[in-house]
Every structure is written in structure tokens, then in C-alpha cells.
């Protein structure tokens, strides 16, 4: 019990400290500064973009990992999980080497389509999806495994083809896992710093997300940094409360 209490204190105190140090009186003024709203908006846009990308690519991947037996599946899964344990800055370097202007894929992208990712908002989305998608894939794969195909078999025996089965049985039953995976992925994307600053750089309005703004503000103006941190904390808390009943229900 005492250790549990210590653990709670250990986790909660820093958050309390942010609340205590927040310049509540000047908060509105701090947040009205031009860069802040831009960073906030960019954070939301990019994290939702990363979530959409993770959904679009991650769902098929989770499906394959959970349901299609193939050689090297363990290796593929390890590769997918790797960004979760990789230091984000290393992830950013890896992204530069792959999708940067001189990157092995990036230079082809630029030649063929005229697309460059570094220093663009799209680059931020790529960096955030890189670190966030594994959370989505892993959670959804676990959900698919827990279903173990029993209800899909029932649907097939009732005459439902693969698409109907997926749409009317698999997806609805997977909803809790999809929700939890999406929440984790989105939260990770929202907080992403290392890969973003390394791969996408830092430009107010186009690549400077909230965490980057907090970090740079901290170099000169602690008050602003604390105010921005308080905003991030409030957003995270809101998400937690909104999702609490729907997706984090304990058995």
C-alpha cells in the first residue's frame, strides 16, 4: 500500500506542479499570442492526420498480422513494434534517411511527384504516424486475436461474404479495440516531439506543434512554456474523461 501511494504521488506530482505554476491570471494573454493558437491548431490537425493514416494503413496490417499465417510474421510484427521502443529522435533520423530529399525513397518521390516531406506539415503527419501507428496496430491486432474468428465463422455459415462479414460483424465487434488503439495512437501523435523536430523541423504555422513550441519557449520564457504545458495537460485530461466510459472500461 505505501508503495502504491508513492507510485501515485510519483506520477501525479509533476502534473500538480504544472497546475500550481500555471499563470492562471495571465493564461488568456499567454494563449492569445499568435504562435500559440497556430501550434495548437497544427497539433490537432497533424495528430488527427496521423490517426487517419494509421487507421487506413494500420487496420489492414493488424488484420494480416492477426489472421493471415505467413512465414516471417514474427519478424514483421517486431518491425512494426520497433518504433514504439525506438528513441523518437532516432526515428526522425531514420525517416530523413528514408523519406528525406536525399532519402532512398524520398528522392524518388521528389523526382517523380515533386513531393518533399521534410519541413512540411505532411512531414509532421508522417513523423507522428511513424511513432503512433504501432500503438494502433498492436491494440487492434490484439482485439482481432481475441475474437479468434468465431463470429466470422458464424456469419459465413449464415451466408455472409467476406465484405459483409467484415462490415457487419468484425468491425462492430472490434470497435472497443479500434477506439482504444485510436486513442493511444492519437495521444502518442499529439505528444510527439523527437521525430517531428528531427524530420519535419520547426517552423511556426507549418511544422511547429505544441510540444515543439513548449520546448522552445522553455529556452527563453518559462512562463509561456508552463502555460502551454497546462493547455496540453487539459487536452489530455479531456480526452481521458470523454473516452473513459466508452473505451477504457475495465472488466
Amino acid at each position: 500500500m505505501p508503495l502504491a501511494a508513492l507510485a501515485v504521488a510519483f506520477l501525479a506530482l509533476p502534473l500538480v506542479a504544472v497546475a500550481v505554476r500555471t499563470p492562471w491570471g495571465a493564461l488568456a494573454e499567454e494563449l492569445a499570442a499568435p504562435g500559440v493558437l497556430a501550434a495548437l491548431r497544427l497539433s490537432l490537425v497533424c495528430s488527427l492526420g496521423a490517426l487517419a493514416l494509421s487507421f487506413f494503413l494500420g487496420l489492414p496490417l493488424a488484420w494480416v498480422l492477426a489472421r493471415v499465417p505467413f512465414r516471417g510474421r514474427r519478424i514483421v510484427r517486431a518491425l512494426v513494434i520497433l518504433p514504439m521502443v525506438l528513441p523518437p529522435v532516432v526515428g526522425g533520423v531514420a525517416l530523413l534517411l528514408a523519406y528525406g530529399r536525399q532519402g532512398i525513397v524520398g528522392h524518388l518521390l521528389e523526382q517523380a511527384l515533386g513531393i518533399t516531406l521534410p519541413f512540411t506539415t505532411a512531414g509532421v503527419i508522417v513523423a507522428e504516424a511513424f511513432v503512433g501507428m504501432p500503438f494502433f496496430v498492436v491494440t487492434v491486432e490484439a482485439g482481432l486475436r481475441a475474437m479468434d474468428g468465431r463470429y466470422e465463422e458464424a456469419a459465413a455459415s449464415l451466408g455472409a461474404g467476406r465484405w459483409t462479414t467484415f462490415r457487419r460483424v468484425t468491425l462492430p465487434l472490434l470497435a472497443p479495440s479500434l477506439g482504444a488503439g485510436a486513442a493511444l495512437c492519437w495521444a502518442r501523435a499529439l505528444g510527439e516531439f523527437g521525430a517531428t523536430i528531427t524530420f519535419a523541423g520547426n517552423l511556426p504555422g507549418s511544422t511547429q506543434t505544441m510540444p515543439l513550441a513548449v520546448y522552445l519557449a522553455l529556452q527563453t520564457d518559462t512562463t509561456t512554456a508552463v502555460a502551454l504545458s497546462a493547455v496540453m495537460l487539459a487536452i489530455s485530461l479531456t480526452v481521458l474523461v470523454v473516452l473513459r466510459d466508452r473505451w477504457f472500461r475495465l472488466p
Binding site: 468465431r150 451466408g159 457487419r168
Partner: protein
């Protein structure tokens, strides 16, 4: 509604199921031949892990077969030799899983309507048909609830309606009453019997409960270790069990030995004398019903030709009889009256003599 493999249909073929299923799954080596007419209910009886469920899954198309064929109403659903394999959803086969597998996210009504919707029926007629079937199984009142709120018996009725609403040509019931306990079971069995008597397709019913098999099925097939060991009517099987499993199931003492005249030599050196001389040589079964065995405290004098010593092992009251397991060179299940138990002062471990008249031994070729 029969969409199954129309192109390969042979109109002259008789209605019903012709199946030869050969497949290997883990330690199970399944090789089963079953033919069944439309309108017939075949009970598939067997111990656990005999391959009963796997066989049903193969017929439904959920588990591919390695060799053999599945032919329903003349249409070839599966035949690896010619590369035919109809997908499960394309077969007119209804499978009721042992755990029912009602979709937890859909209401009872939408569960029953699911198959119709999947086959392109519009929402409102699908719901109407579903409602009619729910009424037939007595579950109309529960149309709006989720399966989570149902009892086992209610779930079974819904699952049955969900399978029957599609009017399948082959209905597969996997242990339909196994998940039901106590008093509800008798009611459900009676209702299931009623629905099956209306059903005009072929029905295979897996069970390990002999009562269920006898009351619901027209004919029984016994499956053991992936192979059919016996088939026929309940009476035939009960009278002439051919395996230890069946003998235990119907409660008969079964011995296998070599017949020489009226004497049957058992592998252990014991002998059984029978009056029936029709099978006077070769391998035979000798069945001895528990009720024809008499017990004595002293070795009996006179008429019985078969007298064996033993020790009382278990005493069990079954209705108005007492079941006694006699342990010894000839292990026997014996049924006597409570009065006999009292007069013989039988107790566990006590020495007894078991006697059987030669005329009471049923002999048939192995």
C-alpha cells in the same frame, strides 16, 4: 434460396446428403462416410474428440476436406479430386454451433435477420421473416434484447431460429442441448423435436447424450476416433453394441471372443456359454444385459451355465434398481432389486458369485 453450386446439380440425383469426408487435423484422422435422405434426422454419437464437430465443420465448408466429397441434393459442394470447393456462405447449410455464437452487438431480431440480409433480402421483409421465426420458437418477446440478456435455453431457441429462417437444405446441430442444464432441457428437447419434424431438409445432430440421440434422431451413427464404428436404429445399436463406448452408453456388458460351438473363449482365458448356436465359430460379441445377471453369496448349484466369482465394487441406486459393479476376472455391471441387496447383505468389497443363464447371452458376429 438454394444458391449452392447450381451448375453442377444433377436433377436426377436423390434429395439429401452424400458425404465422404477425409481430413487430418492435429492428432485427429477423420474418415467418415455418411448418406442421409432429405427429411431424415441422423444422430451423430461419439465420445469427446472423436471428430464430430470437425465433421460438421467440414460439411459447412469451414474446414476444407483433403479427400472425398460433399454432395447435397445432387449438387457437389466440395470434391478436392475435381477441384470443387463451395465457400461456406454459398452453401445452403445451416450450422448451429455448440456455443450458439449469437452476435453480441446485434439484437435478437437482427441476429435472426442477419442471414437474410446477407443474402440480399431488404431490411423490412427480413425482419418480418425473422419475427415469424422468433414467434415459432417462442422468443418473439425477446426480439429487441441483446443476446447477453438471454438464458442458455433462450439463446438456443434464437440460434435455432437464426439457422432455420434461411430454410437450409442441410441443418447441422452441434450438441444443441449441451449448454442447457436441468429442467429446461426436457422442454427444449421436446421443442427441438417438434421443429425437426417440420424440417424437410437433411439434419445431422451431434450429441453425446444417448437420450437426446434416441428421442431426436431417426437413425444413429457412432463416431469414434475419426471413424464410424456403428450405425443403425437405436434399437439395433442398443441390442448389438460393437464397441466398449457403445456398450457403456447403453449400459450393457460386452465381451469379444472366439466362438467354438456354444462356448466363447475370451482372450483372458475365461469362457462364456451361450445357448444360441447360430455363430458357432469365429470372432463374436457376447452381450449380457445387467438385469439377467443373478448374484449369490455362495457358489450356486444347478442350472446356470455361467458362474463367475468376484467382489462388489460400487453400489448405485438407479430408480427402483441398484446397480452393482462386480470386479473380478469377468467384470460385470449388474442390476438387482433393493430387496436382493438386503437379503444378500451386499456391501462394497464383499465376495459374490455372478450367474448368467446360457439363454440370456446374446451372441453376434464381430
Amino acid at each position: 434460396m438454394t444458391r449452392a453450386a447450381v451448375s453442377t446439380a444433377d436433377p436426377s440425383a436423390k434429395q439429401g446428403l452424400r458425404a465422404r469426408v477425409v481430413l487430418r487435423r492435429g492428432t485427429l484422422d477423420l474418415s467418415v462416410d455418411i448418406d442421409a435422405r432429405a427429411g431424415e434426422v441422423v444422430g451423430l454419437l461419439g465420445p469427446n474428440a472423436a471428430g464430430k464437430t470437425t465433421f460438421l465443420r467440414a460439411l459447412a465448408g469451414l474446414t476444407p476436406i483433403m479427400a472425398g466429397h460433399v454432395v447435397l441434393d445432387g449438387a457437389v459442394l466440395e470434391d478436392p479430386a475435381v477441384g470443387v470447393r463451395t465457400a461456406p456462405e454459398e452453401r445452403s447449410v445451416g450450422l448451429m454451433f455448440q456455443d450458439y455464437r449469437l452476435f453480441p452487438h446485434l439484437t435478437v431480431l437482427d441476429n435472426v435477420a442477419f442471414g437474410l440480409r446477407a443474402r440480399g433480402v431488404k431490411r423490412s421483409p427480413a425482419r418480418q421473416s425473422a419475427m415469424e421465426w422468433l414467434a415459432k420458437v417462442g422468443m418473439a418477446d425477446a426480439a429487441g434484447v441483446r443476446p447477453r440478456a438471454l438464458s442458455g435455453g433462450q439463446a438456443q431457441r434464437v440460434a435455432l431460429a437464426r439457422a432455420l429462417v434461411l430454410r437450409p437444405r442441410l441443418l447441422l446441430l452441434d450438441e444443441p442441448l449441451a449448454a442447457i442444464d436441468g429442467s429446461a432441457r426436457a422442454d427444449l428437447r421436446r421443442d427441438l423435436h417438434r421443429h425437426l419434424s417440420w424440417f424437410d431438409g437433411t439434419c445431422l445432430l451431434v450429441t453425446h447424450d444417448p437420450l437426446e440421440a434416441v428421442t431426436l434422431a431417426d437413425r444413429l451413427v457412432v463416431l469414434e476416433d475419426g471413424h464410424v464404428t456403428q450405425s443403425g436404429s437405436a434399437e439395433e445399436i442398443g441390442a448389438h453394441p460393437r464397441t466398449r463406448y457403445v456398450a457403456d452408453l447403453v449400459g450393457v456388458n460386452l465381451f469379444r471372443g472366439r466362438s467354438a460351438g456354444t462356448t466363447i473363449m475370451l482372450p483372458g482365458g475365461e469362457t462364456i456359454v451361450a445357448a444360441d448356436e447360430r455363430y458357432h465359430h469365429g470372432e463374436v460379441f457376447a452381450a449380457i444385459h445387467p438385469r439377467v445377471v443373478s448374484l449369490f453369496r455362495e457358489a450356486p448349484e444347478g442350472s446356470p451355465r455361467n458362474v463367475w466369482p468376484g467382489a462388489v465394487e460400487v453400489l448405485d441406486a438407479i430408480g427402483d434398481r441398484v446397480r452393482v459393479q462386480v470386479h473380478g476376472p469377468m467384470p460385470l455391471l449388474v442390476e438387482v432389486t433393493p430387496a436382493a441387496v438386503a437379503s444378500l447383505a451386499l456391501d462394497e468389497g464383499g465376495e459374490v458369485w455372478a450367474a448368467v443363464k446360457a439363454a440370456e447371452v446374446v451372441v453376434y458376429p464381430a
